[in-house]
Subunit: 245 residues, 2 copies
DNA sequence: GAGTGGTCTAGACCACCCC
DNA sequence: GGGTGGTCTAGACCACTCT
């Protein structure tokens, strides 16, 4: 493997270069979500390095939940469609701690143009065409979260309400399955706000009720922002769980 | 190194056993926060394993921020007193993203008895003596967070308001420096609530203002809960940042 | 039993820090 | 220059899964 030092660290270890090559193959779709990638020995042969070096590269991708190792079986491309990853980014749960999966109720999908703030978040030009989705998430048949979601229209051609409604699974499972876009990480900012009239109606509470406002930007490979989302969440009996370490 | 298989996984790798031995040394105070632990080769000799095995054990502890590696210098015990770790668990920051350090204003320290809920959180018996601390955190001279903190009295003997006030640094830096208790992780639950009269006064807002309520339990080695905390946070111009991956 | 990931070793060499 | 962490190798062997 030819050494290929880069700008930032003045020196790039081999396993780092391999990690980049693997990522490129993932972006190019050489291995699809849920599929196995070649074995460590095969990859070692392909890149002319030792198994240990390939392992270190895979370790890094596994710790980012981009790949999943399964002893005795192989290494697989992580997928939001797999049960254990279905609601990987959903941190709202009952105070009791059980993880329960919400039911989706779509309210609206319309075309719109990105305002300056949204455009900045998704790294688009202001005025770019977007899809704007509104939905409510129900936990045990109780409306708990009102979501507003924005996606660049050109990245999601042919998106319609019926297609969203007929799909079983999370939004990210949908993006991945239908549009081949895998979300690998997200940034969230939380605030406390007072419910406006419309939101209060959707969540069936009095206007002015305190709600948890969760702004999220979700990214694919290469830290490319794909989805903007604002969730307004009723936190009675439920809370947003986070672990600090 | 004698193999010492344990109950849970029916087989425990060597590096895992080393990790446990290292943790025991940390708990016993063999190496103090901020100090360097022995070099990898020394540890390899001590435990009669190869450098690679010690490395894997240290890697695990480093990824939990229990140890910190510094190339060319050594491996150090992480400390909340170090500038970069001062406010490691503080996720509230200006919307602009800069990290700024708050100023501490203590309001009260009193002795109390743990109610059933608090006792359960800290794994104490109900009625156990505790310290109850109240304070306000100011960002740029603006009161933004009202904290209520509970600690088991027997773990913090001789705690007084003046001792808290004269200490420069974060609470965890204080626990670590004065009581030798290192907090290594924490769990938080976030909710949106309406400000009551007292809190509103402390934060200089109208009663009923929506506040972010952050409940936290912080743990030392061995997942032992030490501190319970409830923060009520004004989120205007500020927000709670979280990264999902 | 064959194939996969996971562990462990011994040794070489590199990058970084400080004397 | 000597010490420390960081990389890389080649090879042995172990644990798990599937056929």
């Amino acid at each position: 493997m030819p050494a290929k030092p880069a700008a930032t660290p003045s020196y790039r270890p081999l396993y780092e270069q391999i990690r980049i090559l693997l990522t490129q193959s993932l972006v190019a779709g050489e291995w699809k979500p849920g599929e196995a990638i070649p074995s460590e020995l095969e990859l070692a042969a392909r890149y002319r390095v030792s198994q240990g070096t390939v392992r270190k590269a895979i370790d890094a991708l596994a710790s980012e939940h981009i790949l999943v190792r399964r002893q005795g079986k192989g290494t697989f491309v992580a997928s939001h469609s797999e049960p254990s990853y279905q609601y990987r980014f959903l941190r709202v749960m009952p105070d009791t701690g059980e993880k329960l999966h919400p039911q989706n109720l779509f309210l609206e999908l319309k075309r719109a143009k990105a305002g300056t703030e949204l455009a900045a978040s998704l790294r688009l030009k202001a005025g770019t065409a977007i899809h704007s989705i509104k939905r409510v998430l129900l936990f045990q048949n109780r409306p708990l979260i009102h979501d507003e979601i924005a996606l660049a229209a050109r990245q999601f051609p042919g998106l319609t309400l019926p297609r969203l409604e007929e799909f079983k699974g999370s939004m990210y499972s949908f993006y991945e399955t239908v549009y081949g876009l895998r979300m690998i990480r997200a940034e969230e900012r939380l605030r406390a706000v007072s419910a406006d009239a419309a939101t209060a109606a959707h969540l069936n509470v009095a206007p002015g009720t305190a709600l948890l406002c969760v702004d999220r930007i979700a990214f694919t490979y290469g830290d490319k922002p794909v989805e903007w989302r604002r969730g307004l969440c009723l936190t009675e009996g439920f809370s947003y769980f986070n672990e600090l370490s």
